[in-house]
Symmetry: C2
């Protein structure tokens, strides 16, 4: 019988660790006898039983029912992650596999993220996600226009974060090269570099003047700019290996699984979750630590990807509470390391494709 709040003894820690690791490996409640036999713990099962009872009293373990072994509680996992975790030493095979998969292509950030997500899912056997946070205070740095034909041109917008978006625009009037160039000029003069709250009525009036014959474009263009700044692009997220969820019996409850898949598809909750956790400097969200209800029985482990001190993305893993935290954290480290490298050390070639996407458009005016 221990005093409450007394720190855990060495042996208690050892037992807690053993219980958690066994449970992570097997998914089943672990009993005192099992520990004696499989983990070399130098005490009898009776002693272990006593200690486990104490650990339960302290809230680190739980018992599904009287005659079952113990499973870790959320607090148990939390303590484990914060204190007990040993760094997982990746096998050379694992390292090789990752290298193999990731060297393939030095692509764009989006592509890198989705590839990283694939790799992560494949290596960890959990569902992996990659997210790209929206950039809220972006501003259009430059406009560019490309004339397609008499009635259509492409508007290219480059944001301060160097995001690029292009739109095909159709107008009813005749368009010559000059008027198309004029549109770009006008936009660059009036809108470029301004935040949305700086785009005031007088600015718009001037823009209208500069557009000359194309005055009627003001509102539609403004709409595009607005859409771009408040990008649909923000909070992009990518899920890989959803089917992995079904590998774990904890997701055999249809009702729950259904909801989880729903949230994974919806993306909002997860993106929010990650950005909040990141604020708290935390990389591991265990069960109900998140306030997303359907994540109650799941853990989320992620690692942000930074560039110039700014978070430009994250790779993560979603799985049951009994996630192999050590291994996942190690794998995430190497995977995100690869990406950071790609971003920083351009390939041997002189040319480094940035991230892009493409757009297809066909419509008449």
């Amino acid at each position: 019988m221990q005093e409450v709040n007394k720190p855990l003894s060495q042996r208690q820690k050892q037992i807690l660790k053993a219980v958690i690791e066994s449970h992570i490996a097997n998914g089943e409640p672990v009993g005192s006898k099992y520990l004696v036999e499989n983990k070399q713990i130098a005490s009898s099962s009776a002693t272990i039983r006593n200690e486990m009872a104490e650990l339960e009293r302290r809230g680190y373990l739980e018992q599904p029912h009287t005659s079952a072994g113990r499973i870790p509680s959320e607090a148990g996992y939390r303590f484990y992650v914060d204190t007990l975790l040993e760094e997982y030493a990746m096998t050379t095979r694992e390292i090789q596999e990752i290298n193999e998969m990731m060297k393939a292509k030095v692509g764009e950030l989006d592509q890198n993220l989705s590839m990283a997500s694939k790799v992560t899912s494949a290596m960890t056997h959990y569902t992996a996600i990659s997210v790209k946070p929206g950039d809220r205070q972006a501003v259009v740095k430059r406009f560019q226009t490309v004339r397609l034909d008499n009635h259509r041109f492409i508007l290219v917008m480059i944001s301060s974060t160097e995001a690029v978006q292009s739109k095909t625009i159709s107008v009813q009037d005749e368009l010559d090269e000059q008027s198309v160039a004029q549109i770009a000029e006008a936009l660059n003069a009036c809108i470029a570099g301004k935040r949305e709250d700086e785009i005031t009525a007088p600015v718009l009036v001037e823009l209208g003047d500069r557009l000359g014959t194309n005055t009627s474009l003001v509102m539609p263009l403004l709409k595009l700019v607005h859409a771009f700044m408040n990008g649909d692009d923000s909070g992009k997220m990518n899920v890989t290996g959803m089917d992995r969820l079904l590998d774990y019996p904890e997701y055999s409850d249809m009702q729950e699984l259904r909801q989880l898949i729903g949230t994974l598809e919806d993306k909002n909750d997860i993106v929010k979750l990650i950005s909040e956790a990141e604020k708290d400097q935390s990389n591991v969200v265990i069960g109900s630590e998140s306030d997303v209800k359907v994540m109650e029985n799941s853990s989320l482990v992620f690692r942000p990807i930074q560039k110039d001190g700014k978070t430009i993305g994250a790779i993560g893993v979603i799985g049951p509470l009994r996630m192999d935290y050590a291994r996942v954290l190690a794998l995430l480290d190497t995977v995100t390391g690869h990406i950071t490298n790609m971003l920083e050390e351009p390939s041997s070639a002189k040319l480094i494709p940035g991230e892009t996407e493409q757009a297809q458009s066909k419509e008449n005016s």
Copy 2:
């Protein structure tokens, strides 16, 4: 006892239809008694039993076990879809709901497709997909460059199908406006309008010459062009409402569900499936009619979206064999109708944003 191959009698058709529709509604095997009581069929249960036995002999019905009712076989569904299907009359409420959801935004094709997918999933209660076929024989019609700073510029490629893709490119040499313009010129002169097999060694030599100091860009640029032409964009697919699968008990087998989710994520199989079915002028693929193994117990119903006689996309639904084909087909019709309208009758504004996406890129050289 009927002759083999004799066409089905009126009554047999009626019974088959009743069985299928009951099964679609309830998911349970339907028995003779049930039909007498709930569907007004003017025969005794014994007669119906005899007819059902005959229908089973002909391969339209199956019996899960001796003392269960009958369920439709794949052939049964096929016959139903081809012959027995009555047009589903949508309720005004349904029509309104769709209108409501789809009027919201006249956006880009990609966005429209994904919205349509959402609407379809919400209305049908099945998992919905939208696909955009790749454009295999696309060619780069025009190149455009935008200088960012001394070491970086953006390359904009516009394909013959008016797809637009932009890439940020970093080089080690100093870049002035002129050399950036030169790059575009060179590309336009040498590469634009050519299929890949027309880009031969002499062409590349000339390109090198024209690039002047930037000769070393040839290969990297070529790589980009190649990537663009064989676009990662091709075969884009979008899945909405995966969680709906779990609404149907036929997907309670974990193993199977896992595989199905896997294929939905992988996308390739489905895209292939749709494009093949479309060749056969078919909109309904029932179970093992597809050669995708995991689709054995699922049906796929879709409807292509055409523009100027070319298929530019498709919306579809994936669900259990006992899908409500009539309703799904009707809903798909209206949803795709909406999209076609959007493509053809531009909004009241003068400006029609085409489809686009955006790219973000930050890297140093």
